[in-house]
């Protein structure tokens, strides 16, 4: 899974958000390391929607403060499965890498 897909899904798994909300959340989440610029952000949102991993909300949540001008997104069940699967993959990768590195260090 692409890195910005993963972070977008991760961000949406906590709450429904609009585009700039996702951007700020991902920036916070990664301590400013991952910044989603507009074309990448919205292009990826379209892609995720076509994948069926997120969907667009018909109307913004009641507590939204943007006068209904922005598009809001929500993660789907398929999206949660996808991000969980990616997390599992990453964890196994981390486990394997850590074991190998620990083993290598022992030998040296």
């Amino acid at each position: 899974m692409r890195r910005h897909w993963f972070f977008i899904l991760l961000s949406l798994s906590a709450a429904d958000r609009h585009g700039s909300g996702i951007m700020r959340d991902v920036l916070d989440l990664t301590n400013g390391e991952v910044k989603l610029w507009p074309v990448t952000l919205y292009g990826s949102l379209d892609e995720l929607r076509e994948q069926g991993w997120i969907r667009e909300l018909a109307r913004p949540p009641a507590d939204a403060d943007d006068n209904g001008r922005k598009r809001w997104f929500r993660i789907t069940a398929a999206g949660r499965r996808a991000v969980a699967a990616e997390l599992a993959r990453l964890q196994s990768a981390v486990r394997v890498a850590a074991a190998r590195l620990a083993h290598g260090a022992g030998e040296a």
Partner: protein, 890 residues
């Protein structure tokens, strides 16, 4: 400031796909503006960073977004493998083109014609203007010659003593060499033949930078008076006569009845001027200064030397000669790029043809564009249906692209093949092009014309998909059949294309017309002799068997007598230089004229020896006095002369009758060489009808002495019948006197005259052909557009006629539309033609570049044919039956 940034970003976002912009544009802008505002608070660097990052974001992601959309037109359409769909496209294209075979053939034919013309003409343009001469470091080769403005000569030829001084003193040259064209009688056991060759100085091979295929070149010791009889043979002779045998070096051949040893073999196509079969050393004496200026020169500059430096260098080398014998600097060296010397004659032709053929290509492209545009409107319904059935726009575009490519590739390939074959035709009429002028296809020109063809077909081939996209499926299917006359932009574009075609055709027709008129005018110029019914052959006597002027003179007397006795021959004679042949110049002054002031101009006079029968055989018009008779004059006594009108005016500018007056070789006042005018004849245009005639005179053979010996004569004979019939008997006469002598330059004077005009005729014919093509294309364009418009407007015309419009009114409606296009085209085209004609003026001779007759003709031809082209569709329109058209649901 913020709004500026917002607009800039919005513009930048146009690089992203339209649907992404439509959906998220405002949010993307807002996000950027917010980012920028936050960054600005941190300072200019941060703001700049945001801007750069935003640009990088678009640059990185926008192509991907486009690709993503193209790759997956929509989620539910199965993505076909590209190759499979390409094959399907090809099949479909073939089917759709077969449905309209006439239109497809017309488009392919038009393209092929234009490409073929370009391929052929640019082969020549490239060879003449651009391609490097086939010598190593050819850019450093220069043409050497001498000039004498006061003699009225731009090229005098080089004096051998001058050349020796240059070779000794000049510092800027790596090497320099002289050559002189010559003919040789080559004899062996199988017979004799006349071959062309050159006398060259010993380091010609080094100057050109070539190496003999076999053997060696001349040494300096061989290039001296009475040097050894050595010869280098050309590639063709080596192949034909010696079968390419490698042991040819050291063998002996007989040249001019003397044995010569072959020392080397030259590569093919290396000689500078004319095909050379033999190279002999010039064998000149460097210490003998003379008045003879007969050599051509070539030099190889040292690296980095400019023409100006070379000129200055040669002037320094020439200085001692000026001091010693030419204090008024009458003759001075001249240096120019080698190419300029040889292509001068071909340059106007190359430029005119190149420009003409590009115009033809443009007209053809405009024509094809119009045809494809018209076709696209006709296919709007088809496109609409295909969109409605679920074809994506990208799929449609690929389909149309394939069709266009099929047309372009077919036209391009056929055109290239035909053009390749046509290259030879270009120079067919031109007198012996230089051997290094290789006419081969020019890759760049081929690529250029193919590119233009491709761009045109693709651009206009995609038009149907554009209109389908603009209207959407529903609009296209519903309106497809009944729209009135195509949408406004398409109509405008069609009209514009026709106007452009007419304008370009007007330019080509005017230029072609002017050149044809110039050629016809030239044919009417009086050559000064009667070209019809005259046969001529040339014979050259070898010094070995005819060593003295007495034996030579006796031989030619016998030949002339023999030819005169041939049945059917009315007159026969011999001359040293026939018209369009050679040149021998001398200087003369009227007896008692004031001595020439230093620096004053001194005209060269063409000097010929001729038997009395020559005048009658050639039909040269006598203006005053008489011809000399057969036995009049002797080397030591009376010197009769027949002079031409120009020389008469030159020697006696007061206009008095020169008959009986006397003149002398300039500077020579001994009574021995005093000549008496016995007759004045009309100028014979010796240098061709396009060049002015200089002063000229004829002297009898009887006054020749040992110094004036000439071993070569042209025999002419006049007959009332076909002159070609005389050739065999004239050969027989020569063979009867000496079986070893070859007869050459066998031709009628009419042929010689036509040949002298060959280049002019070739330009005129080719441009006339291009003009004809242009006319056909432009007229075809008008016809096609009006037919199309009439077809589209059938319903409207039907309504008009139902409402009471008469046939003539409908006719007028359509014809008027054609006339307006034609008129606009002419208004643009004629001034452009005037400008183009000015550039051609050097080729027009006596015809003015503003020749009203030609332009009137162009207007009449274009309007006349245009009217016919408009009339046919107009009549079709006038015959529209309202009841049928209006009841037709589509």
């Amino acid at each position: 400031m913020t709004s500026v940034a917002r607009v800039a970003y919005r513009t930048l976002l146009r690089l992203a796909p339209r649907d992404l912009r439509a959906k998220h544009g405002p949010e993307m802008e807002a996000l950027f503006v917010a980012d920028l505002a936050a960054a600005r608070a941190l300072g200019r660097r941060a703001a700049l960073g945001v801007c750069l990052a935003a640009v990088a974001d678009v640059a990185r992601r926008a192509p991907y977004e486009h690709w993503r959309r193209r790759g997956r037109p929509s989620a539910h359409v199965r993505h076909e493998p590209l190759l499979t769909s390409f094959a399907a496209d090809l099949r479909y294209a073939a089917r759709s083109l077969r449905r309209q075979p006439g239109a497809a053939a017309l488009i392919v034919g038009t393209l092929a014609l234009a490409v073929a013309a370009n391929v052929a003409v640019f082969a020549m343009v490239d060879a003449v203007f651009f391609r490097a001469l086939p010598y190593p470091n050819a850019a450093r080769l220069v043409d050497l010659n001498e000039q004498a403005p006061t003699w009225g000569l731009d090229f005098t030829g080089i004096n051998y003593a001058d050349f020796v001084a240059w070779r000794r003193t000049a510092r800027t040259f790596e090497a320099m060499a002289l050559w002189d064209d010559a003919g040789f009688n080559l004899a062996d056991d199988h017979g004799s033949e006349r071959v062309s060759g050159q006398h060259v100085t010993f380091d010609m091979v080094r100057t050109l930078g070539i190496a003999p295929i076999l053997g060696r070149s001349f040494t300096q010791a061989e290039d001296v008076p009475n040097g050894p009889n050595v010869v280098m043979i050309g590639y063709g002779l080596w192949q034909n006569r010696f079968g390419g045998a490698r042991d040819v070096v050291g063998k002996t051949i007989r040249i001019g009845s003397a044995p010569y040893t072959i020392i080397g073999v030259l590569p093919a196509n290396v000689t500078l001027d004319g095909p050379a079969t033999l190279w002999l050393p010039v064998d000149e004496n460097p210490n003998q200064e003379g008045e003879s200026y007969s050599y051509e020169g070539v030099g190889r500059l040292k690296p980095g030397v400019t023409l100006a430096q070379a000129r200055a260098d040669l002037a320094v080398a020439q200085a001692p000669i000026w001091q010693r014998s030419d204090t008024s600097h009458t003759v001075s060296p001249r240096v120019m790029p080698l190419r300029d010397r040889f292509v001068a004659d071909y340059r106007p032709m190359g430029a005119a043809l190149g420009a003409g053929v590009v115009l033809v290509l443009l007209i053809a492209c405009a024509n094809v564009a119009g045809a494809m545009l018209a076709r696209s409107v006709a296919r709007r319904r088809e496109m609409g249906i295909r969109v409605a059935l679920g074809a994506s726009h990208s799929r449609l575009m690929r389909q149309l692209l394939t069709e266009s490519l099929v047309l372009a590739v077919a036209g391009g390939v056929i055109g290239t093949v035909v053009g390749r074959m046509g290259i030879g035709l270009l120079t067919a009429g031109v007198e012996s092009p230089p051997p290094w002028l290789h006419l081969t296809m020019d890759t760049r020109a081929v690529a250029f014309s193919l590119l233009i063809v491709l761009v045109t077909t693709v651009l206009f081939g995609l038009a149907p998909s554009m209109s389908a996209r603009r209207m959407g499926a529903a609009g296209a299917t519903m309106e497809g059949g009944s729209r009135t006359a195509g949408s406004v932009p398409e109509r405008r574009m069609l009209d514009g294309l026709v106007v452009a075609e007419v304008a370009l055709a007007a330019v080509l027709l005017s230029c072609g017309g002017l050149l044809v008129r110039a050629y016809l005018t030239l044919r009417d110029v009086d050559p000064g002799f009667r070209p019809d019914g005259v046969a001529s052959v040339r014979v050259s006597l070898p010094m070995a068997t005819y060593p003295t002027w007495v034996t030579q003179g006796r031989f030619f007397e016998a030949v002339v007598a023999g030819v005169a006795a041939i049945p059917g021959v009315t007159d026969a004679g011999a001359v040293t230089c026939p018209p369009f042949g050679c040149h021998e110049g001398m200087f003369y002054a009227a007896e008692g004229a004031a001595p020439k002031r230093p620096g004053a101009s001194d005209q060269v006079v063409l000097t010929r020896r001729a038997t009395p029968g020559y005048f009658a055989a050639m039909g040269i018009t006598l203006m005053h006095g008489r011809y000399y008779s057969a036995h009049e004059g002797s080397p030591t006594g009376f010197h009769p002369a027949v002079i031409n009108a120009t020389l008469a005016a030159q020697l006696w500018p007061d206009g008095s009758n020169p008959v009986g007056k006397r003149f002398v070789f300039r500077g020579d006042t001994t009574a021995r060489d005093r000549m008496t005018v016995v007759g004045v004849v009309k100028d014979v245009r010796h240098y061709g009808l396009t060049r002015p005639m200089i002063g000229g005179l004829y002297l009898p053979l009887t006054t020749m002495d040992s110094t004036g010996s000439r071993a070569q004569f042209t025999i002419v004979a006049h007959t009332a019948g076909r002159p070609e019939a005389l050739f065999a008997s004239m050969r027989a006469v020569v063979r009867g006197l000496d079986p070893e002598l070859p007869v050459f330059a066998v031709q009628t004077m009419r042929t010689a005259l036509d040949h002298s005009l060959a280049a002019r005729r070739a330009i005129a014919l080719w441009l006339a052909a291009f003009a004809g093509i242009a006319l056909c294309l432009a007229i075809g364009g008008i016809y096609a557009v009006l037919s199309y418009v009439v077809g589209r407007r059938r319903r409207e015309i039907g309504i008009r006629m139902a409402l009471g419009a008469r046939s003539p009114q409908v006719l007028g409606l359509v014809v008027r539309q054609g006339s307006v296009l034609m008129a606009i085209g002419l208004v643009i085209g004629l001034p452009a033609a005037l400008v183009a004609a000015r550039l051609l003026s050097s080729q027009l001779g006596g015809v003015s570049a503003r020749d009203p007759l030609t332009y009137a003709g162009v207007v009449i031809v274009l309007c006349g044919t245009g009217a016919i082209a408009a009339w046919i569709p107009a009549r079709r329109a006038a015959r529209v039956d309202p009841t049928i058209v209006l009841s037709d649901a589509t």
